[in-house]
Amino acid sequence: MFDLTVIGGGPGGYTAAFKASRLGMKVALVEAFKIGGVCLQAGCIPYKALLESARVSGLVRNAGEFGVDASMNGIDFSRMMSRKNKVVERLEKGLAFLVENNKVAYFDGLASLAGLGKVRVKNLKNREEQTIETKDIIIATGSKPKFIQAFAADGKKILYSDHIVALAEAPASIAILGGGPIGVETATLMRALGSSVVILEAAPRIMINEDEEISFELKKQLEKKGITIEVEAKVAEADKKDTGVTVDYTDSGGDRRSVDADCLLVAIGREGLTNGLGLETAGVGTEHGYIKVNVSMRTTASDIYAIGDVAGPPLLAHKASAEAIVAVETIAGRDTAPVDMLKIPHCTYCEPQVASIGLTEAQAAGEQRKIKTGRFSFKINGKALCESDEIGFIKIIADKDTDEILGVHMIGGEVTELIQECAEAMYAESTLEELKMAVHAHPTRSEALKEAALDADGESVMK
């Protein structure tokens, strides 16, 4: 009899398992494939590892500007991939060690709910089945690429993101359906590998969830690299041919066009992994394809919790692990605070990087409150100039009356690290005043954040 059974070994699941174990519970962790989930096996980590190769290639290309004599002879695809695999393996080993160290019982198999306090586990290799008895259950099965019949992936000509990280060679050309985070990260990677890249986005701008100014700046910068971006492109179908794939679409002007590429990446969103769990029988309700939960991560069934991607957007690893803590502390009867979705940082590792937290200017303005905005460009930031990487800016949105930090939006080098200062500031309910008055070291990119905060009150001395 376990105190807690966690279904799914991604960042939500393993965090829940380890935390519960630390609180003295007897924990089972069930994973059908490999520990780490999409994050470690096909998402965050492999993408970031591959994109680092792209970044280094950029540095080598520009080495002459730094007085470094080097020549760019291209990226060796297989060495890039094996380096990525090493990173993944190392993190896998780390997780396996933590499973052992935390005395978590690891079950290799596909789980389903089998009545009150019971989880059935079916091993996918030897087909053996067993039933685990448990007091509480956390479902952390994650998500998968959204399935549309017309663009069903075959892993060769039509791909999902998990195929990208397992490619054997770089395609000479790629069409990307969807200009969201996966689309622009893949575009960045493929372009650095020398592929010709076309992004087809149905919305009026790429990265539709980011602030408008960020979207426009990113589009400009990606286009500078030679990436073709079509917005308001309505894709009708993808014709697979011997040589590749032909994607037919209607452009923003209403003209029918087509693009030929070696392959098509379908990156139009993801959906919760809810199939086969036996949710309905167990009384676990769903909504818009995700498991319905309350602020304590409880589902509609007693003693069953859901966290991470399967419990709804935003689909982010760190959101899953934050929810894991809430769920486990709730189960343990401890005081806990719900995860505030508006205080979760969003990081995209395209080049230039994009990072944001909180409301966009349009969202903040729509809330019927008085806002003020501050901006600061990396063009006048010493550290950015030292790095010859002065693209981008920081934009901050605050409440005019209370100085509440409503949102921060960044584009440029290392902004995925920089956003964390804002996450902590917003969690602690610091105001513009604290960002303005805290001493920021020189020379750092964080000075641009302080100046953006000062600029919101017209007080920047560097502009």
Binding site: A337, T402, D403, E404, A428, E429, S430, T431, E433, E434
Partner: protein, 390 residues
């Protein structure tokens, strides 16, 4: 340096509001000199200095409230005044130490030492919320923006005005009235008896007494009714008692409270030891306290100690009404207007007579219907034959 403390100016006073400082810091103050105006639950009063000296420091500013017994100012000798600032600093250091200890036991801090996020402080300041009283739900019990907004959202307990309305703070007197009548109506099981009294003889008696008396003592119906009540209480002493915690407390003296309407509320000045007073003495004392009640110059002692209350709204054309007993008293007499009304006389004919209705409110825990009715009838009889009331 001696403290000037918030005096207890009435039995029920728990705190007082400084309305006006009549002396400024550095002013010389003589013993017995009026130094400050205080608003209590009963009345606004001027407070005198108990010692002479120099007003060294004002602790409670105008408009602020302080509990009874707390220092509201400091009185020093001339040389001492300069030390005041230092003294203050020492005290503040002490206070900070105390606050630190309080924090350690995770109790709510004091204003200025409250554990709240910068944003929560900004929002509270903007919305005019006192952050000190809010329970924090953030990390380590910290007050968050949400906590402040929740308090504002909950709103004042009395509810919100309809569109276009305002919320207004009540004066100390209105609060005291609200507290007293609520206590009375929720704790005392009232019942009511009404009688009609023919007042022609009382009217004639009043005119006679007026003619006979000195011109400066004006005799009114209230004085005559007071006398009738006092004489009747002598034969029904139970009415003059208090009900306190399941026991009857019998009062030796008959102290009659006369309800006086004043600007913004009511006051009940008390005429003490009425059993020893003649009509003229009642009239003289009554006229004096009522007049001073209206000009806000009563002492605390004159507003306390009542054993029975009379509320006469006869001048306002009211047929009859039921008054609320002033706890811990057992009864109150509500007197309506005196009017010419048709009355059936002994021969069966109709005559015009001056008629007054009066209603007795009684605490049923103390007195039942029958003795209460006899008490009320006896008052009526005395008013109808008023000669003995002089």
């Amino acid at each position: 340096m001696t403290d000037i403390i918030m005096p207890k100016l009435s039995d029920t006073m728990e705190e007082g509001k400084v309305l006006k400082w009549l002396k400024a810091v550095g002013d010389e103050v003589k013993k017995g000199e009026k130094i400050v105006e205080i608003e209590t639950d009963k009345a606004d009063m001027e407070v005198e200095a108990f010692d002479s000296g120099i007003l060294g420091k004002i602790v409670v500013k105008e408009g602020e409230t302080a509990p009874v017994g707390s220092a509201i100012a400091m009185l020093g000798e001339v040389e001492e005044v300069k030390e005041v600032e230092e003294v203050k600093e020492v005290e503040e250091v002490k206070e900070i130490k105390e606050v630190k200890e309080v924090k350690e036991v995770k109790e709510a801090g004091r204003p200025g030492q409250v554990k709240a996020s910068p944003l929560a402080k900004n929002v509270a300041a903007r919305l005019g919320v006192d952050i000190a009283g809010i329970a924090g739900t953030g990390p380590g019990g910290r007050i968050t923006k949400e906590d402040v907004e929740a308090v504002v959202k909950a709103g004042p307990a009395v509810g919100k005005p309809v569109k276009g309305g305002d919320i207004e703070e009540m004066s100390a007197m209105r609060k005291a009235i609200a507290k007293t009548v609520t206590k009375s109506k929720t704790e005392i099981p009232h019942f009511y008896l009404t009688v009609a009294v023919e007042m022609d003889k009382a009217a004639a008696f009043k005119e006679e007494e007026r003619k006979r008396g000195r011109e400066d003592v004006k005799i009114t119906y209230t004085h005559i009714i007071t006398r009738a009540v006092v004489e009747t209480i002598k034969t029904h002493p139970i009415v003059n008692s208090f009900y306190i915690d399941g026991r009857i407390v019998r009062n030796k003296n008959i102290n009659i409270g006369i309800l006086v309407a004043i600007e913004g509320g009511i006051l009940i000045p008390v005429i003490k030891e009425c059993e020893r007073l003649s009509l003229k003495q009642v009239a003289k004392i009554s006229n004096d306290v009522v007049q001073r009640a209206r000009s806000g110059r009563l002492s605390a002692g004159e507003l306390t100690g009542g054993t029975f209350t009379i509320s006469n709204v006869g001048m306002l054309d009211v047929e009859h009404f039921q008054a609320i007993i002033d706890p811990p008293q057992s009864a109150i007499l509500a007197v309506g207007s005196i009017k010419k009304r048709p009355v059936v006389d002994e021969s069966g004919g109709i005559k015009a007579a001056l008629v007054m209705n009066m209603t007795l409110s009684i605490d049923h825990r103390v007195l039942d219907g029958e003795p209460a009715a006899r008490f009320l009838n006896e008052i009526r009889d005395r008013l109808m034959e008023p000669e003995g009331l002089a």
